[in-house]
């Protein structure tokens, strides 16, 4: 097991992503930050907090559970549902930033795009992830990446966040 990001590095990565989001969208007025449960939700909340302190305004944010939209449900035991909470502003005509912890096959994001479309038609959908570990199975890429982490398929990337885990840390397991 080796540690890939520590607490300070995670904080720095989020701050950098926040700046990139502001730059790319020329401000935050049309933004909606949507986290994908479980850990994507906490990252989205942190990102929202950074953005609003940088810009001095409230940012619309929420969560979007993708479980019921997955196309690989049959491969595993049914999982408990995460929470879905779309902000009152809605997502229609907004610049939506989806936030997740790890980008891997891309199937979660595909499911998220489907789930999101049930709630309206955003102007743009962007993707922010803390870790991009490669091995995409779908034509999906992230707009904002905390860290690119080349991995083997059989390795396990574990993101720990202090909100539910003991500490902030990203580690990789199963590395030979």
């Amino acid at each position: 097991m080796s540690i890939v990001l520590d607490q300070a590095e995670i904080a720095r990565a989020l701050k950098r992503i926040a700046h990139e989001i502001i730059e790319r969208n020329k401000g935050v007025s049309n933004l909606v930050i949507i986290g994908i449960p479980t850990r994507g939700s906490f990252l989205a909340a942190r990102l929202t907090k950074i953005l609003s302190s940088l810009e001095g305004v409230e940012i619309n944010s929420g969560y979007l559970d993708t479980t019921m939209y997955r196309d690989d449900l049959r491969n595993s035991a049914p999982r408990s549902l995460g929470r879905t909470e779309i902000p009152l502003s809605g997502v229609h005509d907004r610049d939506v930033v989806l936030v997740d912890d790890v980008l891997f096959s891309g199937r979660t994001i595909r499911a998220a795009l489907d789930a999101l479309s049930e709630h309206g038609r955003p102007k743009t959908v962007q993707l922010a992830v803390l870790i991009d570990r490669g091995h995409r199975e779908l034509p999906i890429r992230a707009d904002y990446v905390g860290k690119n982490l080349p991995t083997n398929r059989n390795e396990r990337v574990q993101v720990c966040l202090s909100e539910i885990d003991d500490l902030d840390q990203v580690k990789i397991e199963g590395r030979a």
């Binding site: 559970d65 479980t67 019921m68 939209y69 997955r70 449900l73 049959r74 595993s76 035991a77 049914p78 408990s80 549902l81 995460g82 929470r83 879905t84 779309i86 489907d114 049930e118 709630h119």
Partner: protein
């Protein structure tokens, strides 16, 4: 969770709470403009009804459709008890049709168990009421409704006092609720004339009373059971009038319930027999909620049974 939902006895407390939590989340999602989830797209669910129950069938049908499953309604009029097509032949037909899940309502106790335990078909089986045995999804939606009204949005029913009143002997709703509500920590009291209680009811672990009027204000939930008028002919009680007087929820009893107590009924109601119109329509009544919650609970059951595989 098991591959089938046949009896509450097969669920652990954790599984039951997880099912209720899943239902709660699905209820929230389906309250938004999202009416349909793609979860069970391409899956076939058969509603196999050997007994008329439009309410239960519609509830399961709505649940399956909101999960994008294909739904086939198969009502076999006149059960195999009256020597129509046998349960076995029906099951073989369903297997040939490639049913992933079968929701079965049947007048014979144990019919769902038979469907699940014989090697007639491979799909998962949901018991939607078997004879006088069980009706697990009804109990789950009742527990959901109780929790929604009286407890935290998540967790169990610890400490709640629930009265189940009426024809316990013939009630599959009562059997499932006694198992589930006690599993979730509620204190259950059965109230009925002794003729309408099983002789071994003392093995169920709940309180039993013959008198509806004592300690009425101690209950958080009063669940009334449907009484079939035909029971009178088998000498279970002398007359409808006497039954209604001794075991019906009327205005006088309603006024003695405590302020937070809710009134439930699995339907269809015999207004004027086990429940008076003013009780059924009072602000304590959550009977309409029960119907509404049925869809979310059945979605959760379908998802948890068929979502994996």
């Amino acid at each position: 969770m098991n591959r089938h939902l046949l009896s509450i006895a097969d669920l652990s407390k954790e599984e039951a709470v997880n099912l209720l939590d899943t239902a709660a989340e699905l209820a929230r999602v389906t309250e938004t403009p999202v009416k349909k989830l793609p979860t069970l797209r391409g899956r076939t669910i058969v509603n196999l009804f050997f007994e008329d129950s439009t309410r239960t069938r519609i509830s399961f049908e709505a649940a399956a459709k909101r999960l994008s499953a294909d739904v086939i309604n198969f009502s076999a009029k006149g059960s195999s008890l009256s020597k129509g097509e046998s349960l076995k032949d029906t099951a073989l037909t369903l297997q040939a049709m490639g049913a992933d899940g079968v929701v079965i309502r049947h007048p014979a106790s144990g019919a769902a168990h038979r469907l699940a335990s014989q090697k007639w078909m491979s799909g998962c089986v949901i018991n939607a009421g078997d004879g006088t045995h069980e009706h697990p999804t009804q109990a789950l939606l009742d527990a959901f409704t109780i929790r929604e009204n009286l407890k935290e949005p998540s967790g169990d029913l610890a400490g709640l006092n629930v009265a189940i009143v009426g024809d316990v002997l013939h009630s599959r709703v009562a059997r499932s609720n006694v198992l589930l509500l006690q599993k979730l920590g509620a204190i259950v009291t059965l109230i009925a004339p002794p003729t309408l209680l099983p002789v071994a009811v003392n093995t169920w672990g709940c309180n039993v009373k013959y008198d509806f009027d004592s300690d009425l204000n101690s209950f958080d939930v009063v669940m009334m059971l449907r009484v079939q008028r035909e029971r009178m002919e088998d000498a279970f009680f002398p007359s409808e009038r006497e039954y209604a007087r001794r075991y019906g929820l009327n205005a006088a009893r309603l006024s003695l319930l405590n302020s937070r107590c809710i009134v439930m009924h699995p339907g269809p109601m015999n207004r004027g027999l086990e429940i008076s119109a003013d009780s059924a329509d009072s602000d304590k009544s959550v009977i309409v909620d029960q119907v509404k919650n049925g869809v979310a609970v059945r979605m959760a059951a379908l998802y948890l049974l068929l979502g994996g595989e």
